[in-house]
């Protein structure tokens, strides 16, 4: 398939799906059919894209047929197509879950179109090669997330949505200011053009730190890095699981993707100045997230705090800044998208059956649903990083990269945090699955509907998690390849600016 067409399909598929779902507003069933078709097509397109990128290198297209530094470029390399594939896989899982678990009224008020538009935003962020478009796609994400979190308008949801919107609005403002500064300094918005200017002897190079700080703060808020993380656990637990699984599992990592992209491509020149700060932030993000999780007694809130802690690991690769560590970060992002989504889905099934997310009001799930407990256990151990599950490989690469670069303190912190994560997962295991059911709740009926699809979505994601753990080698190779591409920015610059020479 020619690159011109291949690169716009991940944007057009969800958009067309959303338009068709709006036309089918009154028929939930047909909307679900449309979404299912879109998900399957999305996965296959992502597979094709990954395959082509592995064969032919970076693919680009110029939207509107205007040449590169002036028009809008869409670019995909191994990193972005890996990420697209992961989000599409997780998207299908979340769709299967929401098909049975989400209530009818939310579906009637446009859950499916919003879900598809959110996916369009994710692919837009992954594919864009233009810093202003990046901002626009983040706005798409912000609007869809806000609408999804507020969908159903319960009191707690509105509270969470308001917090989410306010803080992300500030972040968007910072990003826009940063983009304005970049444009006034260098007169370009195309990522490849910016990367080229930054590597030449432009008179304004000394001022690169200014937009760098804007972007660090803006994406720091969006990705929930240490001092700016407080909005995440305050809003992610509010909506129903079908929504928070996607938002917490996928969207929070998208900010991290952009940081990796921008800091390897543009701000890598100034990285010596920023590196101590990044090292400190990643260590603190890990530690604070996991400590916060230890204090919680709500299933979803524990998982939300772990999202923060794992963002710290992803930042760790960027802070160490060696090819191996960045590859570890990329592997970790992929692993975490799948595992975190799956853990949220498990908590959703437990809550669906036992009407509660609170650890105090749950118990004895193991007796009633041994299969579910087993599914949780594998995902949780994978999150904590026990070999041979997928989390182990990511942490191994990060730790090895850290040792080679001599950041012993950070690696030590990350290993301690892993231990606390394991403790936290055991806490959920003990309280929810293992301990006897609290006496005053024994009378409450347990919902035992035929919800095989709910289980199916979890098993489906678990298959990928196990594959990622047991046969990690190809994915690790791809992660290393994408780290190589990130470090050799000339390939990216050439592919966008001189497509003839690159071929």
């Amino acid at each position: 398939m020619p690159a011109n067409q291949l690169l716009v399909i991940p944007l057009l598929l969800p958009l067309l799906g959303a338009i068709i779902s709006v036309f089918l507003w009154n028929s939930i069933r047909w909307q679900a059919v449309v979404v299912a078709v879109v998900q399957l097509a999305f996965i296959s397109v992502s597979v094709i894209m990954l395959q082509q990128v592995l064969q032919a290198g970076i693919l680009t297209t110029q939207v509107g047929n205007w040449p590169a530094p002036f028009g809008i470029s869409l670019v995909t390399d191994v990193f972005s197509s890996l990420l697209l594939l992961t989000t599409s896989i997780a998207g299908l899982g979340v769709f299967m879950f929401s098909h049975t678990a989400l209530d009818q009224s939310r579906k009637h008020f446009g859950y499916y179109p919003l879900f598809l538009l959110l996916q369009m935003g994710v692919s837009g962020v992954c594919l864009t090669g233009d810093i202003f478009n990046l901002y626009v796609w983040f706005e798409v994400l912000l609007i869809c997330c806000f609408a999804l979190i507020a969908l159903g308008s319960r009191k707690s949801q509105l509270e969470g949505a308001l917090k989410y919107l306010t803080i992300n609005f500030v972040a968007s403002g910072l990003l826009l200011s940063g983009i304005g500064v970049v444009y006034s300094l260098y007169g370009a918005l195309n990522l490849a053009e910016l990367a080229r200017i930054v590597r030449s002897d432009h008179p304004n190079l000394d001022l690169l730190l200014v937009p760098g700080i804007f972007f660090l703060t803006g994406f720091g808020i969006k990705a929930a890095i240490f001092p700016l993380f407080f909005w995440l656990p305050a809003s992610y637990h509010a909506p129903p699981i079908s929504i928070s699984a996607f938002v917490a599992g996928i969207i929070s990592k998208i900010g991290m993707y952009t940081m990796l992209r921008l800091y390897t491509l543009i701000f890598s020149i100034e990285l010596e100045a920023a590196q101590p700060l990044l090292l400190l932030l990643s260590g603190l993000t890990m530690a604070i997230g996991v400590v916060g999780a230890a204090a919680q007694v709500d299933f979803r809130k524990i998982l939300s705090f772990h999202v923060i802690s794992q963002i710290g690991y992803m930042l760790m690769g960027l802070a160490i800044y060696t090819p191996l560590a960045v590859a570890g970060s990329i592997f970790f992002i992929i692993h975490n998208m799948l595992v975190k989504t799956n853990l949220f889905l498990v908590s959703g099934v437990v809550a669906h059956r036992h009407h509660s997310f609170s650890l105090l009001k749950l118990g004895g799930v193991y007796l009633r649903h041994p299969t579910l407990s087993f599914l949780f256990l594998i995902s949780a151990l994978s999150l904590a990083g026990l070999p041979p599950l997928s989390g182990f490989w990511g942490k191994l690469m990060l730790a090895k990269g850290g040792f080679e670069a001599g950041h012993y303190l950070l690696v030590g912190t990350s290993l301690c945090v892993s231990l606390v994560t394991l403790f936290s997962m055991t806490k959920i295991w003990n309280e929810v699955f293992w301990k006897p059911r609290p006496r005053q709740l024994k009378q409450q009926p347990v919902v035992t509907g035929k919800s095989y699809i709910m289980y199916l979505s979890i098993i489906y994601l678990l298959v990928f998690i196990l594959l990622l753990g047991v046969s990690a080698e190809p994915v690790i190779q791809m992660a290393k390849l994408s780290a190589d591409q990130l470090f050799n920015s000339e390939i990216y610059i050439d592919a966008v600016l001189n497509p003839e020479r690159a071929n």
């Binding site: 020619p2 011109n4 067409q5 716009v8 057009l12 958009l15 067309l16 338009i19 709006v22 036309f23 507003w25 297209t61 110029q62 939207v63 509107g64 047929n65």
Partner: protein, 181 residues
Amino acid sequence: MRTLIFATAIRMLTPVFLAFSIYILFRGHNHPGGGFIGGLIGSIAFVFHILGLGTRQTAKSYFSITFYKYDRKPHHGTIRHALRLLRKNLDRRKQKEKPKSIWNYYLLRLRPTYLMAVGLLVAVASGMVGLVLGKPFMTAYWVEGKIPVIGSLGTPLMFDAGVYLLVLGMVLKMVFTISKD
């Protein structure tokens, strides 16, 4: 806001607003204007109409189709009956004969949300033209020749028309939702 002067004036001005918004839409390619601002101007027409005359009246005059039904005269064939219906519907004021029933269809039942979806679809379709012809997405194609007031026709104009519909639908959706409360 419901004063007689405002209501009368707005009843006459609304078509002017709409015509102006279409003009702005068409001149947008090389001059200030375009789909977004055209859609806003077009929706202002409806917003004022709602302010002056109320949601129901707006829906009746701009978003509904009214059809007068009559019985078929025994000596009329099908075609002649249809022609008679057409004639009677074209100038309804002069009718002496009472219609048998008045059939009223409110297009508002097709919510403004659909207008937004149609707008998006038109915009996406304009981009797909380039894609189908083997060029990158959204490559511009122009029809040869110029039309006096409108200018030249092409896919960018189609994209603008999509934006126009989208903005119109969105503002109408907001206004109808707010004015319902």
